[in-house]
Subunit: 314 residues, 2 copies
Amino acid sequence: MRAVYWKKGSLYILDQTALPLKVRWLRCSKVSEVCHAIKVLAVRGAPAIGVAAAYGMALSKRMKADAKSLKASRSTAVDLEHAVDFVLLEIRGGKSALDAAMIWDNTNTEKCKSISERGASLIKKGSTILTHCNTGFLATNEYGSALGAIKEAAKQGKKIHVIVDETRPRLQGWLTSWELLRAKIPHTMIVDSAAGFLMRTGKIDAVMVGADRIVKNGDFANKIGTCSLAMLAKECGVPFYVLAPMSSFDRKIANGNKIKIEIRDSSEILGKAFKKTKALNLAFDVTPSRYVTGYVNEFGVFRRIESLWKSTKE
Amino acid sequence: MRAVYWKKGSLYILDQTALPLKVRWLRCSKVSEVCHAIKVLAVRGAPAIGVAAAYGMALSKRMKADAKSLKASRSTAVDLEHAVDFVLLEIRGGKSALDAAMIWDNTNTEKCKSISERGASLIKKGSTILTHCNTGFLATNEYGSALGAIKEAAKQGKKIHVIVDETRPRLQGWLTSWELLRAKIPHTMIVDSAAGFLMRTGKIDAVMVGADRIVKNGDFANKIGTCSLAMLAKECGVPFYVLAPMSSFDRKIANGNKIKIEIRDSSEILGKAFKKTKALNLAFDVTPSRYVTGYVNEFGVFRRIESLWKSTKE
């Protein structure tokens, strides 16, 4: 199963706002429909958004304006920019937008497969892994990043247990649970705030998360709550790994303070019943590199961000 | 306004499961109704549960059995035991159960007033205080513990801002917001997992929480998420205060590992729509004393638990 695919001139997006209760596909035949699907989180997860946007370009009749709209549909994940720029570059090189999008898609799949395998090598037999948000095939289109590694470890017979943060306010933990149920991997959902206590009492062997943008000094943006987990993991001596394809890395930004964090509508937290309360709905937070035990991308596992930059060309 | 009160032979409980949308009072004229109200969280917060249980004893026709039922209605908060035992002791001394309950109630109010004033002295002008769960009059019957201190500081004109954790799964942050709206104190709700990022980026000047049971070595049980906050506060250099009346202290338990933690139904986290996922719903967690900057009770502010035990007789 894939989160998005192209068929006969249309882009099909598995509507993640309907999961886990319903498997519903959105058919997009206009760029505006792709932008909308990204905005309302029907497709989410930095790499999956990138693939959707690449195919979005294949639906475009006004390349420049549509590239701009697609890039503006979410602000924190960098894959979106990278994917759209890749298609624009390939077009200039003579390829069709669709061919370029397919290359992006296939390359992304290979990267995620590699990340899953490399990440799985960090997971010990019989261990309990905590993960936050959703980083499976729904978030990357195929395989996954953090959840890809977890699934690969289970596939290798490592008999792991997964602790799934529910991930307020949008509850992407449900998507993770849905993927884990499909893969028959034992797991337990918790409220986000319980993670610290489980780490403190020795119930968690490692934390694995994805990333929406990893910048030059190794600071990275990811789903709100990631920064808390990283600090808690350090305090409790639990290894903390970040898994993401090179397309989520952004060398142009020097450090985490310069990452633009998307602030979403407060109704995602508050609902609509009681209107007097105000909320701050930061969709992401930024974790300093000093809390990261290792970065995993398609090229390897890196303890320090400097060695990652040295070993990779992109 | 009070969370529970006695009138003409009945105990009235403000139903916290209906707030903030509705102000609804439950009238209890049988012990079983009081037990039920405690179990379903219509009344919650360690001191408020204690007061409700004390009045519950005034409805009893079978003291011994009802004392047992009341004590068994929640497991982690110690006030419940202390309040019931107090009534039993006073009855043996010749008082009526109702008189004893009223003494417990009034004493509790005085304690909470004192805690609020002492706690307020720790809050600096113009500061931003993070709080978790609800610790206002709803949780203590009058005044409050952590939220009592926050309200008192605001009343003293300290121009504070409050960051309110929504407190999954039961969202007691809504109760806190409702109390803060009534008191016209500016505040912002966040998802629980955002607290760490706000602390790391210098947005929080102090964390103030209540407690359900503080044991001999200073470890304490409180709403799930408290342990995470305490560890995050330490990592970020933010003071972390625990405020609770002496009735929430329990010298009989040596350390936090021996506190019984209530595990509630997983449906509080998962709802009922998607039944395949499993959840672990720890209602409380235990925070080690090393993370506590200060304990505040009706006798003072104590940097170390040893000095608290020395200064108090109870």
